[in-house]
């Protein structure tokens, strides 16, 4: 079920009503109800893959209890390995099997020894990259004795399957999130209102920004051989807006939906396009994944404890792995690697943490230097997106060749069309809101000094824009494919 569908528009209010009126009598009822509706939510897409989520949850539930029940280090390591192999095995099979088969075929063909292995044409179960990471983090935390294993299978399964964040995160940590399933939730008016507002903001970003950018980006990247350099630049900038609107919009709807049900999810985006360098960008983009890799890969690899060389090596590793997590294709690996290469100079010069506060804090406008840094960072990010969006390495080469040609200095014919004007106008509106709210949690968390009539005017205005500019074919969320 997509967040931007009629189905969800019926599903969420229904769940909300039943949750707070019928199933709020006990914690167990609340959790059982959440588990059932989460299964319905996931099964709406394809019920056959529901079994996989339950298998993943069951393995980690049993492994974690076993980990808690033994102090034998050898056995504990064995149990952890079992969980890792099971989760990564599932992820590897469904996500990477065909990629490796194709890569082997290509490699052997290149060496003049074609082997003709058949791909399995496996369908990627939605959300597998997210829920496997969430279950793994739980088991690792139990192994590290940072949290106690859950002995309530209903609460634990509801934590894994919790529908607002099941298919595309945020990837929650058990330490922060699981305890919320062990506490009876009571309705909180302020929280529910805030949740609704964040859902509205997420819908605006997804439906108006991302879904309107998508056809323009697709048309240019779909015919990259004939696109001018300036058109590719335009498409890449629009893709930057699309991917942000899509994924941060999804996260906003997820967080807002969870708040309606009395849960707090972690923040996943913190205005990444206002970053002044790449390190800051990655602290603000897909925060739940970046911190996951930091806690469960970067630090276990030694982090920065072994000096700069080790910090640089480890940074390069996590960026490359992160690229591979995003997609089973070489351009994603390269994308991750190049991100790492951009990051390394900051590690070398000890400048990875020079911008910890949001830009222009306490001021209305940034300084010229800050503006310049933001623009340069955005341009660097856009070069990543050329790699990210291109169809394979060949497509990437064509895109960069186009950008570096004389056609870069032409005016793209699409620039003056209505769809581009709509997307650019809506994106400008989004960034205006986000700039003014950058010291708060999300773009529609308005300045409390705005009077009620002004706030409601803005909410109705956004609804009107959504109704007026929602494109005919509302696309799936990009991150579902990861």
């Amino acid at each position: 079920m997509l967040f931007n569908s009629i189905d969800f528009a019926v599903f969420l209010p229904l769940v909300f009503l039943l949750y707070w009126t019928v199933f709020n009598r006990s914690l167990r009822l609340q959790n059982a109800f959440l588990l059932v509706v989460s299964a319905v939510f996931y099964g709406w897409w394809d019920w056959r893959y529901l079994g996989l989520v339950f298998i993943s949850a069951a393995i980690d539930y049993v492994v974690a209890i076993s980990l808690d029940g033994t102090s034998d280090e050898k056995r504990r390591r064995w149990l952890l390995t079992l969980s890792m192999v099971a989760n990564l095995g599932m992820l590897g099979f469904f996500k990477y099997c065909d990629f490796f088969i194709t890569s082997f075929n290509d490699a052997f063909t290149f060496m003049g020894m074609p082997i003709g292995l058949r791909t399995l044409n496996i369908v990627l179960p939605v959300g597998i990259s997210f829920y496997t990471f969430q279950t793994m983090s739980y088991t690792i935390d139990v192994y590290r004795k940072q949290i106690k294993a859950s002995h309530d299978p209903i609460a634990f399964s509801a934590y894994i399957l919790f529908f607002p964040q099941l298919v595309a995160g945020p990837i929650e940590r058990a330490g922060q999130f699981l305890p919320q399933f062990h506490q009876h939730r009571t309705f909180d008016l302020a929280m529910a209102r805030d949740g609704l507002r964040q859902i509205l903001w997420g819908l605006f970003k997804k439906v108006v920004i991302a879904d309107n950018c998508a056809p323009i980006v697709n048309s240019i990247y779909g015919d990259i051989d004939h696109a001018s350099g300036s058109a590719i630049v335009l498409a890449t900038v629009l893709f930057a807006f699309q991917v942000y609107g899509d994924f941060s919009g999804y996260s906003d709807i997820a967080i807002g939906s969870a708040r309606l049900l009395g849960f707090s999810l972690m923040r996943n985006f913190a205005y990444p396009y206002f970053s002044r360098d790449i390190a800051e960008f990655w602290r603000r983009w897909h925060i739940s994944l970046s911190t996951w890799f930091r806690d469960y890969l970067y630090i276990p690899l030694g982090g920065s404890r072994g000096g700069k060389w080790m910090a640089m090596r480890n940074s390069l590793i996590i960026f490359t792995v992160s690229g591979f997590w995003h997609g089973a294709a070489w351009n994603f690996v390269l994308w991750g690697l190049i991100n790492g290469l951009y990051f390394i100079p900051l590690v070398w010069t000890d400048k990875t943490r020079q911008h910890m506060e949001i830009v222009a804090k306490g001021r209305t406008f940034p300084t010229l230097s800050e503006l310049g840094r933001m623009l340069i960072t955005f341009m660097l990010v856009c070069t990543f997106y050329v790699i990210f969006r291109s169809q394979g390495l060949g497509g990437m080469y064509t895109a960069f060749s186009g950008i570096l040609s004389a056609s870069l200095f032409t005016i793209p014919s699409m620039l003056l069309t209505k769809p581009v004007a709509i997307t650019l106008g809506a994106s400008a509106l989004m960034f205006l809101f986000e700039w003014s709210a950058r010291e708060r949690a999300y773009g529609l968390m308005l300045d409390p000094r705005i009077p009620a009539w002004g706030r409601y005017g803005i909410y109705y205005g956004l609804v009107l824009i959504i109704v007026a500019f929602a494109p005919m074919a509302g696309g799936e969320f990009i991150y579902f494919q990861f």
Partner: protein, 308 residues
Amino acid sequence: MLRKFLVQCTVLALPILGGILLYGWWNKTYFPAPRLTPNIAVNEKVDRIVRLQREGADVLSLGSSMTLNNLASGPVLAHFKGLRYVNAGAWGMGAGELIQFGPMLVERLKPRIVLVAMSPLDLIKGSRLSPRDSAAIVRHLDSARPMMGYLWHREAAYYLRQMELNKIRFDDPGNYEYLGYDASGAALLQVDPERREPGRYAEVPPSYDKLKQERYEAFARFANYLAERDIRMIVLSSPFREGLTNEAVNALFAQHHARLHGILDPLGHTLLEAGDRTWPDALYADASHFNADGAERFTAHCLAQLRD
């Protein structure tokens, strides 16, 4: 607190829902058919048949925009006096798609005669129906409650956007996407010279080698399908406008007609050609689609060749 929240939500949502409902009611004549397939013309046509023409047809016309736009209902009704007639033509349902789309309608409307207006372009392109599209069409055709189609295909933004577009599609015959059906289901164009799309008007007819073998084969399967059921097919070959007609185009038609005769004649079907006279440019909306007057003349001219 929960009650307060629910009341607030309801009060705030009322103007939004009311506004959308009011807008929908105001434009109800333009409300689109359920989104059964990505092909709007197919959706509108199937829905129309379900709502208005379900009782069956003695004469059923099938095919692409050639059937929809070039087959005028007047001459057909005049020729087949007293028979029930349904024009089920829709864009994209060309020679290759007839075997997909045709049987769904033939089995339900039980015609004795099937008319197909066809141009060589039908042997080049079409929009294939996926198994999912076909299943959706069948379900809608068999549905006792056509309104349920909206429940199966819940795409609010699609309906809102299409409603806007339908204001042009349903009312303006000068638009190439015109779907303002007459009582039988034909939609005759009336594109005035100043509104013609130059690219469409000047589209050069293809050469015979561009016509696809597999589309002829699919068409032959449909011809066989009808013959097995004792249904007679009458194919009306639609010509290009005079300004584009030359020796090469005549050669194209000669080869194309020979191929069609090879398929149709052994099965007892009929091919009606229109190449015995010229078709002035003024009768056309573009290279191959007639305006209303041209469609009337073309249909009458072809049907006059029928002796039985």
